[in-house]
């Protein structure tokens, strides 16, 4: 029987190498009658095999697996911190405040440049939560939220640069879509059929919130995409140019944060020559007016065009406003209407070009012509 088994294996190899059944059986005439039906059956077995693996199936499984892995890892981390389990996050934050008051600020400073997944990253986020909690003024709170949104974007850029896989969430503006490959405020995002998103698609120029995972190939794999809600802060439009030596100072300033302010004069365009990237769909945001110079204002560190805006009365520097508009082809927000949302913030940033933060991720730093990252304003993909 061993001879028969060996003969079968030799014939199978021959067929796999492209020989015919008759050809391989000619080596074993004594076994031909018995082996022929088996070889014909093996042909069927080979034909029945599928080569292709559906990419959406693979992607879905990958996203699910990484979510499970994160849950396992988080559960493991939590179980190793028995003292911490007994205290709510707020209590930890208060303890940190107490420590920081009487000790050096190196601890928080060390965490300021951390990325998701780093050991000190929770310290960074707790510090941000504390700053928001202590921001009683709505305007100051609004500015901080914008600053932290910019920080989220910069963190993702850092993760992608380091090829680290981490669960992330960020807000930005869609500037390009092509076959599931998007650009959102300078971040490459992969959007599959399985990604949760609104029916009917989302046009270019839309502000979105994305939940996903950074991949080792330098792309964010989106799990869910949602259009920002009316009244949300204006999302950052690109990755900032961080000065590492300044980030520590900014993080521990403890004072009212002055985001980098840069007044930009866009290339002259004739009136009426600005068309939205999207299908003229407008969006509503809120923010703090930081500078007002002719037809360009600074709101939450970003330059917005006021050329065609209906401006309600009573708006001045420091006002918290709600404004409607759309992102133009140059990536700069075109305001259609603006009105006061609440009273002045107590934070009155210095005007125009004299205003500079002590360093960090003020979103105004990337509003130079709206040309950083996502501000390319390419035409809609549909």
């Amino acid at each position: 029987m061993n001879d028969l088994y060996n003969a079968l294996e030799i014939c199978l190899r021959g067929i796999k190498n492209g020989k015919s059944i008759d050809s391989v059986l000619s080596q074993f005439p004594e076994f031909a009658q018995e082996l022929r039906p088996l070889l014909e059956t093996s042909e069927l077995a080979r034909i029945a095999a599928e080569e292709s693996v559906p990419s959406e199936v693979k992607q879905r499984g990958r996203v699910h697996l990484l979510q499970v892995a994160k849950e396992i890892r988080d559960a493991k981390t939590a179980s190793r911190r028995p003292p911490v389990q007994l205290f709510p996050r707020f209590a930890i934050v208060l303890c940190l405040v107490g420590i920081l008051v009487f000790t050096s600020t190196g601890f928080v400073s060390a965490s300021s440049s951390t990325l998701p997944g780093d050991q000190l990253y929770p310290v960074k986020r707790s510090w941000e939560d504390l700053r928001l909690f202590l921001a009683f003024n709505p305007g100051e709170r609004d500015l901080l939220e914008s600053q932290f949104e910019q920080e989220r974007l910069d963190e993702i850029d850092g993760l992608l640069g380091k090829r680290k896989a981490e669960q992330i969430e960020f807000s930005g503006m869609i500037t390009h879509q092509s076959d599931g490959s998007w650009q959102v405020s300078g971040i490459p995002v992969s959007v599959a059929n399985s990604t949760g998103s609104p029916n009917g698609g989302i046009p270019n120029g839309a502000p979105v919130n994305i939940i996903g995972i950074t991949r080792s190939d330098g792309v964010v794999e989106a799990q869910r995409v949602q259009v920002l809600q009316p009244g949300d802060p204006l999302p950052p439009i690109g990755i900032s140019d961080k000065n590492d030596s300044n980030s520590g100072e900014d993080a521990v300033a403890g004072n009212k944060i002055l985001p980098t302010v840069a007044v930009v004069t866009p290339q002259p365009t004739s009136v009426g020559n600005v068309t939205p990237v999207a299908e003229q769909k407008s969006y509503q945001f809120s923010g703090v007016v930081q500078a007002m110079q002719n037809n360009n204002w600074i709101i939450n560190g970003q330059t917005v065009h006021m050329e065609n805006a209906e401006i309600a009365s009573g708006i001045k520097i420091g006002s918290v406003v709600k404004f409607d508009g759309f992102f133009g082809n140059d990536g700069i927000f075109e305001v259609i209407k603006v009105e006061v949302k609440s009273a002045d913030s107590s934070n009155k940033p210095q005007n125009n070009s004299d205003s500079k933060s002590s360093g960090n991720s003020g979103s105004g730093s990337d509003s130079n012509g709206g040309s950083n990252g996502g501000g390319e304003g390419e035409d809609s993909g549909h």
Binding site: M1, N2, L4, Y5, N6, L8, E9, L12, K16, P37, L38, E40, T41, S42, L44, A45, R46, I47, A48, A49, E50, E51, S52, V53, P54, V57, K58, R60, G61, R62, H64, L65, L66, V68, A69, K70, I72, R73, K76, G117, R163, K164, A165, E166, I213, R215, S216
Partner: protein, 182 residues
């Protein structure tokens, strides 16, 4: 395509390193999925089971029962167990239509019909083989592994696999004959 280092990936798996988990998935998902599709012929169930196999890997690692080497063998063996459990729970033959890409697009319509019927008969007969016979045929013909690699995955000697594949093909050939005459 980046080089996959299984040793490093297994080490990273122990600490739930997301990058290494993703690399393991990218490397082995196609193999696992094709294996399951070959045996079950149902895309939705194959997707669920393939996903389950990798989740079981994470759970095994968490419980200190994960593979220390030969990850492919562990994954395929797990897939085989899960498929067996599934078949026992459901007691049904695959009924899904055969995918179009199985057929040679240059064939005539009558050739295509004949071939589809042949493969359909094959699938029905295949489902009646023992788990071990299905396992060896899937590895050899569904995945295209060599005799030696199949032996390694099955943790059997080469001669044992030769005998097993012979008996599996013989049994399959008899069942195809039975199905054809039904």
């Amino acid at each position: 395509m980046t080089n996959f280092d299984e040793r490093n990936a297994l080490d990273g798996l122990q600490s739930m390193n997301m990058h290494d988990i993703g690399a393991i998935y990218d490397e082995y998902f196609p193999i696992v999925y094709r294996y399951i599709r070959y045996r079950l012929n149902d895309q939705n169930i194959a997707e669920d089971i393939a996903s389950d196999v990798f989740v079981r890997l994470l759970q095994a690692v968490q419980n200190k029962r994960g593979p220390q080497s030969n990850l492919k063998a562990w994954l395929l063996a797990t897939a085989s167990h899960v498929i067996t459990d599934h078949i026992r729970r459901n007691y049904r033959r695959p009924t899904e239509d055969l995918p179009e890409d199985v057929m040679d697009p240059s064939s005539s319509p009558s050739d295509l019909y004949d071939r589809r019927e042949e493969v359909r008969n094959f699938k029905n007969a295949f489902s009646e083989l023992t788990d071990e016979q299905q396992h060896v045929l899937t590895l050899r013909f569904g995945e295209g592994f060599s005799l030696e690699e199949t032996a390694s995955l099955l943790k059997k000697k080469v001669n044992a696999v030769k005998a097993l594949q012979f008996r599996a093909l013989a049994s399959l050939q008899r069942k195809i004959g039975d199905v054809s005459y039904e």
